[in-house]
Assembly symmetry: C2
């Protein structure tokens, strides 16, 4: 049994999308159980229409809902201790749930998650990881928005977190990890990125296979299982790719509806287009995972539909099932034990060419 706490008020559509989303989850993950937090006026009527969800859920009334446009500071001021978002996160802290899922606003959710769950002792700052569909399957990309700028040590934290997530999700023993960088020879990357590269190569961790630098177009190629960067460029990479995907979908739609011949062609190729749409479906990759906290919190897109919300919940479910937090803790212990034991050779780093 996996216990999932849900902020039923989060997102643009609230319970009217979230409850049907949960309905889809229980069809596919029958041992999932839910703790739903929200205002009873909003949640109870929808829950009554979904008796199967009701049967596997416990509902907790909360007076306050964090708004999508609340600033993190506002959300903390008004919503701490009592909002549906806070209570859903707190359920993880109290070990009443294994993972929390919310479609509420990212800034508020991160601020509350940090405040409530606290950052793991071994790392400096949490990160938001995304699952990125690639030509080879899927990759983990982090950080996509929790930080702005990251020094070499933080990039190494992110590498360890991302590798643990790839192991939990993709069932890999030793996922490949790349540091996102730029290709202009003259100025090959930020000093922090170079330094992190040297340290990762030198550390030669058994939990990951450090691949070296990757560029923006390597993400879609699936050149590595885990792409590591600080949150500013990670966020811009993610949104820029999303924008391009939408743009091309629009081109395709417009090209296929413009002439009679194209429309006839579309009818013949309908199944192919359906498969393509599925591949390009951003709902399926919905969900950013907060890594580095003492508990797992999954952020679903605010504007998603029931299928998208279900995907985010299932992501959380799968990570609990595959013991993500245990993996992360063990990996950091191993990393720090290795450093303490002094199997680093600083002079080797100086000689190394990256």
């Amino acid at each position: 049994m996996i216990r999932i706490s849900i902020d039923a008020m989060g997102g643009d559509h609230g319970p009217s999308v979230i409850i049907p989303g949960i309905q889809k989850v229980i069809e596919r993950r029958p041992d999932a159980r839910f703790l739903l937090f929200g205002h009873e006026d909003a949640v109870a009527p929808v829950l009554d229409r979904h008796p199967r969800v009701k049967a596997v859920s416990e509902f907790v009334h909360c007076e306050i809902a964090v708004r999508m446009d609340d600033k993190p500071s506002q959300a903390l001021r008004h919503g701490r201790w009592k909002s549906s978002m806070w209570r859903a996160i707190e359920a993880v802290k109290k070990d009443e749930a294994d993972v929390c899922v919310s479609a509420g606003n990212t800034g508020a959710l991160m601020a509350m998650s940090k405040f409530c769950l606290r950052t793991m002792a071994s790392i400096e700052r949490p990160a938001i990881a995304a699952i990125w569909p690639t030509m080879r399957g899927e990759s983990v990309v982090l950080d996509v928005g929790a930080t702005i700028g990251a020094d070499a040590h933080q990039l190494i934290d992110f590498s360890i977190l991302g590798a643990a997530m790839a192991r939990a999700l993709f069932q890999l023993d030793r996922p490949t990890v790349g540091l996102l960088n730029v290709g202009v020879e003259e100025i090959k990357g930020q000093e922090d990125v170079r330094e992190a590269g040297r340290m990762l190569r030198e550390a030669n961790l058994e939990t990951m296979n450090y691949h070296g630098f990757v560029e923006g177009d390597d993400i879609g190629k699936g050149s590595v299982d885990v792409v590591v960067t600080e949150g500013f460029s990670g966020n811009i990479a993610l949104k820029s790719a999303e924008g391009t995907a939408k743009q091309l979908a629009e081109y395709l739609r417009s090209a296929m509806s413009r002439t009679i011949m194209a429309r006839i062609g579309y009818i013949f190729a309908r199944d192919a287009f359906a498969r393509l749409r599925e591949k390009m479906d951003v709902r399926k990759i919905n969900g950013g995972i907060f890594l580095g906290l003492n508990g797992i919190v999954v952020k679903s897109h605010g504007g998603t539909d029931d299928e998208g919300f279900a995907a985010a919940v299932e992501l959380g479910y799968d990570m609990v099932r595959n013991r993500l937090i245990d993996k992360i803790k063990a990996d950091f212990d191993r990393f720090h034990a290795g450093r303490a034991a002094g199997n680093r050779a600083p002079e080797a780093a100086d000689r190394e060419q990256i």
Copy 2:
């Protein structure tokens, strides 16, 4: 007449792509004249097969060609004064050409361009601008790789350069300019980006309409005519979008060839797909423009074909035709005159909420 100097040895394919590319340019821009720099053993035979190109070109033999994998320092050491790349750039400096085009390696080309042409007196560092196809047409995005990190003053330089380029290319009076940022509320962007935003809003330049912050997905939407960022995130945005475009083209190809029905559909919709391919054609957006030097240098993709190289040359041609350098100089003069006249009110900036 527009005079264009060409590094005929640049790119993965050298003269065998470059000369046919020029052939295409003269069909569409009959008043273009060329100064070709390269090794005669490589260039002369191809030129003999293209008499129309030969008729509008002057050829200059150069012993040395910069290699695609030369580091900028190597290229400067071996190729200064005498390589085809150097001589092509130098032709602009000597006013023997109006613009230089090379498909050679970016780092070497930028290093040589800076060394030979020098950065404009009024700005600190040059930038590489890209033309990005959007749902609304095209936008200028800079910097996509010349810098790593940029302070507020450099971001303003980039804004003025980009706006001048948008005016020269898109025939706009007052292009809209946005600063690339991230949307997470809590940590809204880097301090330098916020500071540049305050300064741009306050300066209220007549050469641009400052729109505010934009996010990664706004680029493809065409929310603004000019997107400004430092080179690390700009390069990652560009490559990440390119990667996504390739990935989706591959999905499409595979979906349309998988079943008989899809293949029949493809035959009917052939024209639509041809138009789509044209829209997704990266060759057409080929070419990064070096801005902020005393002269225009256009960098074509190294792996491009003749059509792609022609597009890069035509970009250079159009910018000369529309007096890009004059526009840039006038804009900086106006900007600095405005600042000197003291029509800035620093205390207003402190009050302003962005």
